[in-house]
């Protein structure tokens, strides 16, 4: 079990709800992933529109916990107001806090992120900050109250996997008490397994499943990879070595130490 601000989840996979070929495939993929927590966003509703209402009905059918995001926000004020709207809309203190600092690579504005997170904690939110792998930023986030921190593996939707593995390892070592989630940039189930093998508590992904040729099959693959990564960590991974070490016993090798 992994704890997100006291909410225990059996699944270590959090999944997004965007970019699927159809609403039915989205529902089937989320079910196949085993995820208990899904991310959602909020957008302007047109006059007389029922788009949001229809989407919300689909999510409620799944019986999952929602984690609203502040995707697209580029300032502290936008992110804070969006979080407050999300709390009103979804009736939850949870917020996946995104403050975007660069449009090309969607890199978090970590200065604005820390500032917004501090404001939201004072306002009673439980913040899931989307950050870079920078250690000092993560320490600041922890110090202001974040019990969940979500560094990127690579830019959103890039499918590049754990680009800065050493920094992610360092975060895990320095923040043992925080629920750490690799969020963004995963492309293959092996990337997810690698994150869990490093000791990350969970992964959050969307595009890699939603844009697969078979999203339901890929959701299954990620579910299995996350389970495999976690089981490998608990079972004790061996460390790398510089030289070979034979696995087959040497004693008794035919012609070994032939009598002279």
């Amino acid at each position: 079990m992994v704890s997100f601000y006291g909410r225990e989840s059996k699944s270590r996979l959090l999944i997004g709800t965007a970019l699927y070929p159809s609403p039915a495939i989205m529902q089937d993929a989320i079910r196949a992933s085993g995820a208990e927590i899904v991310t959602v966003s909020l957008r302007r509703e047109s006059s007389g529109g029922r788009v949001g209402h229809a989407f919300w009905s689909l999510i409620r059918e799944l019986g999952v916990t929602v984690l609203p995001n502040t995707a697209g926000c580029r300032s502290v004020q936008e992110a804070v107001t969006t979080a407050q709207l999300a709390r009103e809309l979804f009736d939850t203190p949870w917020i996946k806090l995104e403050v975007i600092g660069d449009d090309e690579i969607l890199q978090p504005d970590v200065v604005g992120l820390v500032e917004a997170a501090a404001i939201l904690f004072k306002d009673g939110f439980e913040v899931f900050p989307y950050c870079t792998e920078d250690l000092t930023v993560a320490l600041r986030l922890r110090d202001i109250g974040c019990r969940v921190i979500m560094p990127w593996a690579a830019p959103i939707g890039s499918a590049r996997g754990l680009v800065n593995r050493d920094a992610l390892k360092l975060l895990r070592a320095r923040l043992p008490e925080v629920t750490l989630v690799v969020d963004a940039g995963l492309g293959a189930p092996s990337h997810a397994a690698e994150a869990l093998e490093l000791g990350y508590d969970a992964v959050l992904l969307n595009t890699a499943v939603a844009k697969a040729a078979d999203p339901v099959g890929m959701a299954n693959a990620f579910r299995l990879a996350v389970e495999a990564g976690r089981l490998a960590l608990k079972s004790g991974l061996m460390g790398p070595r510089d030289f070979a070490s034979p696995s087959t016993p040497i004693v008794g090798t035919p012609f070994w130490h032939a009598v002279s």
Partner: protein, 65 residues
């Protein structure tokens, strides 16, 4: 009275938020509202009077990652 709804200038007869929601046919939908960047809980819609030029955001759930 002219107000700005989701970034568009809109002429409305409504003088409070509750009646604006009804007038623009949002009634019964799952929405949250902010007026001039301040969130207004549903329970306060009727008591929230509108003024010319108010900026109103009306949002609903969407897909997200």
């Amino acid at each position: 009275m002219q107000v700005i709804v989701n970034g568009e200038r809109t002429e409305v007869a409504a003088t409070n938020l509750r009646s604006l929601i009804d007038e623009l046919d949002y009634d019964g939908t799952h929405v949250a509202v902010a007026v001039n960047a301040h969130v207004v809980p549903r329970a306060r819609w009727t008591a929230t009077n509108l003024e010319t030029g108010d900026e109103i955001e009306i949002i609903s759930p969407r897909q997200g990652g």
